[in-house]
């Protein structure tokens, strides 16, 4: 047994860090990964710029086959993501994950059409799963897709569709067989152009004040047949694969929280109360150390998952464990940050009195999503308990 990190991995990590230092403005406090913070204009422009630079570096899809611009190197792909997330770099788009699906289920023509613009960092993607009545019970989805001679016609509604208003493509899950004997058997997946006629959308303002969520209405939207991803009515397979590749989501959350935690530690070293730094307060020391331990433990779990992936082992169980742990840690960091900042924690980033750039307030609000998105912590517990985990009876 060893936890050795290869020199090649160390060198690549350094290369990524150098890149990050180059592309980020000085004193960058970081943003959460994902579309929500791209609703800040300056973050959006920076994200587009960095997305293209990542493409130019050949770093988008590092795990993908060489013929599609990848390096077939999942370890490198993870190092890149970890560093980008830890440093709060905007830019790594949902497209990087949806490309996995297209490579796994797409036809040759689809791969040739969709993948190169992703690896060049030119296109943004969104995912259309949830509906007003469809949350964790995903296979109950009702957006209807009816096959016609040259296309599918979509009618219905999606919601919580993050970032689709800025996306070039959206991977949408729809019902193609309403009479299927089981509800998960009649689902198909489409790559749709959000600017298609018949699509209207309304942005929903989130608790953070940002408007990444969209409610999307489909009114006789014609989607070309060649945009069907995978086989008709076999969308369940695509969705299971999509959940599987979200297996690193717990780590994404954790590494994002790690940055905020370190900012908090720094704040406690520099902030004096009654003549001594907060860092000398026994209660604060204890609480910060507790967080540090939970973060380190999560990273240890992550090392195990990454190793298991490298061995082609099934990672359903540890990924769900890490998802739950990561979300819990991140929410605790946000709560601890608010506790330590006290009254200052209330202020938004525009206040001249604001501390830590208002990041603690932001994550206190945004971190509610982290135990929900990508499968709720409760669904993760169900999966752990089930046949891929503890094998408990249903």
């Amino acid at each position: 047994m060893d936890f050795l990190i290869s020199n090649e991995e160390k060198a690549f990590r350094q290369e990524v860090r150098d890149f990050i230092q180059e592309v980020l403005p000085p004193d960058w406090l970081g943003v959460d990964p994902g579309p929500e913070e791209e609703e800040r204009e300056e973050v959006y422009h920076l994200s587009m710029e960095i997305w293209r630079k990542l493409g130019a570096k050949g770093w988008i899809g590092l795990s993908w086959p060489k013929e599609y611009g990848g390096q077939e190197d999942p370890a490198k792909d993870w190092i890149l993501k970890e560093e980008l997330i830890y440093h709060g770099v905007p830019g790594m788009d949902i497209a990087a994950v949806q490309g996995d699906l297209i490579l796994a289920f797409g036809t040759k023509e689809q791969k040739n059409k969709f993948i190169p613009p992703i690896t060049r960092g030119e296109v943004k993607y969104a995912i259309g799963m949830s509906e007003p009545n469809v949350g964790s019970d995903m296979f109950a989805l009702q957006l209807k897709a009816v096959e016609e001679a040259d296309c599918y016609v979509l009618n219905g509604q999606k919601t919580w569709n993050s970032g689709i208003h800025r996306a070039d493509w959206c991977v949408v899950y729809a019902r193609t067989d309403p009479n299927a004997p089981k509800k998960h058997l009649g689902i198909s997946v489409f790559v749709i152009d959000p600017k298609s006629p018949g699509i209207t959308m309304r942005q929903i303002t989130q608790m953070t004040g940002l408007r990444a969520f969209c409610e999307v209405f489909y009114d006789n939207v014609r989607v070309p047949k060649e945009n069907l991803l995978g086989e008709k009515n076999k969308g369940k397979d695509v969705s299971m694969h999509a959940f599987a590749i979200e297996r690193s989501y717990g780590l994404v959350i954790l590494h994002n929280a790690r940055r905020y935690f370190e900012q908090l530690v720094q704040y406690c070293k520099e902030t004096y109360v009654n003549g001594q730094p907060l860092a000398k307060d026994p209660l604060i020391r204890n609480r910060l150390a507790e967080m540090a331990i939970e973060i380190e433990v999560g990273r240890n779990m992550g090392e195990r998952i990454n190793w298991m992936i490298s061995q082609n082992m099934l990672t359903v169980l540890p990924s769900c464990q890490n998802k739950i742990h990561g979300a819990s840690v991140a929410q605790k960091v946000s709560n601890l940050g608010m506790q330590i900042l006290g009254l200052y924690g209330q202020l938004d980033e525009k206040s001249k009195w604001v501390q830590l750039g208002g990041r603690m307030r932001h994550i206190y609000l945004s971190s509610r999503a982290w135990s929900l998105a990508g499968g709720t912590s409760e669904m993760s517990r169900n999966i752990i308990a089930g046949r891929y985990g503890l094998g408990l009876p249903s």
Binding site: A292, E303, I384, L392, P393
Partner: protein
């Protein structure tokens, strides 16, 4: 990175599991809780023959030449079986310090005896303050001719009542900095002036009050350097914290498996209770504590074996495992219901050991303070 067991580790854990399943049934564990010695000497001999007592010591001292990480694999199985006896005291608290700081003749004298099962050792560190800090070391060692006279009370000394030799942490000089002036002595447990009283502890393990009254110890029995003992104690505490963590991870795993099985078998409302979502979610959370504890243990133990700086990783492991094991054992009781907290069920053995393990060589608060220092707070 390769997180799989090596072939040797694989063999070690398998043989340990089989051996302990045979030789260390829970009837023995309970018997030894009541027994004054607290360990079966025949089993001790067999463990020596298996090479367990010499596992981390070089072959030239009759040891197995394995690494600390391998020792961790074995300790995990011991914790799973609730193996009673002075293994951790002898090998980790006694043997490893001699290997690290002993003079060649000390190593030649002690290590082969340990490996062959002919000497039981322990470390007398804590005193009535019951804290793991340097200022608490009040037991004095004063020079007298070529000898030292040691006087004081040591408390919570594991296995002192059966030990042949005791590494005694003493104060040889009063200095402004309490971490200076501390010296370790190898004390023959049969020396005049030594007495032990067994304490009755929550886990039924054998901890003692050790009284030393002008115990005469030759100067040549100093381990390491005069006055440099606290640095050594800190190292020993790191080994001990990880060794205990390994036992706890083993116990944690066993509790998890017991509880999953129980939840599958126990029928209420005409169905196994493991089919209820609340029980499933309890168990899912327990699985996180169990698996995260193990990988954190291995990470720290690997770093220690590699000689990498790992003060932080060790405290992350012991701090986390201390609370994780308690959470798991507590939830397990909730799932087991009334049978779990009777002496007729194994669970109570683990619940009591989880608490004892938590306290041993630094609880979570202790290790959080170490982590706080590592954060530069």
């Amino acid at each position: 990175m390769d997180l799989a067991f090596s072939e040797e580790q694989e063999m070690l854990w398998k043989s340990a599991r089989d051996f302990l399943a045979n030789k260390c049934p829970k009837t023995l564990v309970r018997e030894m809780e009541e027994d004054e010695k607290g360990y079966p000497p025949e089993l001790w001999k067999e463990m020596a023959e298996l090479g367990w007592l010499g596992l981390p010591f070089p072959e030239k001292y009759k040891g197995g030449g394995f690494r600390f990480l391998d020792l961790i694999v074995l300790l995990e199985e011991m914790g799973r079986a609730c193996l009673p006896g002075p293994f951790l005291s002898t090998v980790v608290l006694g043997g490893l310090p001699i290997l690290e700081w002993g003079r060649e003749e000390q190593k030649q004298y002690f290590l082969p005896k340990i490996c062959k099962g002919e000497a039981i050792l322990t470390l007398a560190l804590t005193e009535p303050s019951a804290r793991y800090d340097a200022a608490s070391i009040r037991t004095s060692a004063t020079p007298k001719g070529d000898d030292y006279l040691i006087s004081g009370i040591k408390l919570f000394v594991p296995d002192a009542h059966i030990a042949d030799w005791i590494i005694c942490v003493t104060r040889t000089a009063e200095t402004a900095n309490p971490e200076e002036g501390i010296t370790l002595f190898l004390v023959d447990a049969k020396s005049p002036g030594i007495s032990t009283v067994l304490l009755s502890t929550i886990a039924g393990d054998k901890q003692c009050e050790l009284t030393l009254e002008k115990v005469r110890v030759p100067r040549s029995n100093i381990l390491g350097q005069l006055g440099q003992g606290w640095k050594m104690v800190k190292r020993i505490m790191e080994w001990a914290a990880l060794a205990k963590s390994a036992e706890m991870v083993g116990g944690n795993q066993q509790v998890m498996e017991m509880t999953v099985n129980y939840a599958k078998e126990r029928i209420q409302f005409d169905r196994p209770i493991g089919s209820f979502q609340i029980i499933q979610h309890y168990l899912a959370d327990m699985s996180i504590d169990v698996d995260s504890a193990r990988v954190s243990l291995y990470k720290a133990a690997w770093m220690l074996s590699e000689g990498l700086p790992c003060i932080n990783e060790i405290s992350v492991a012991k701090g986390w495992i201390s609370e994780a094991y308690r959470r798991v054992a507590t939830r397990s009781h909730q799932i087991h219901g009334a049978i779990g907290f009777t002496k007729e069920h194994d669970l109570e053995l683990y619940f009591r050991r989880a608490k004892a393990g938590e306290l041993f060589f630094g609880d979570a608060d202790f290790h959080r303070e170490v982590v706080a220092q590592q954060l530069g707070l």
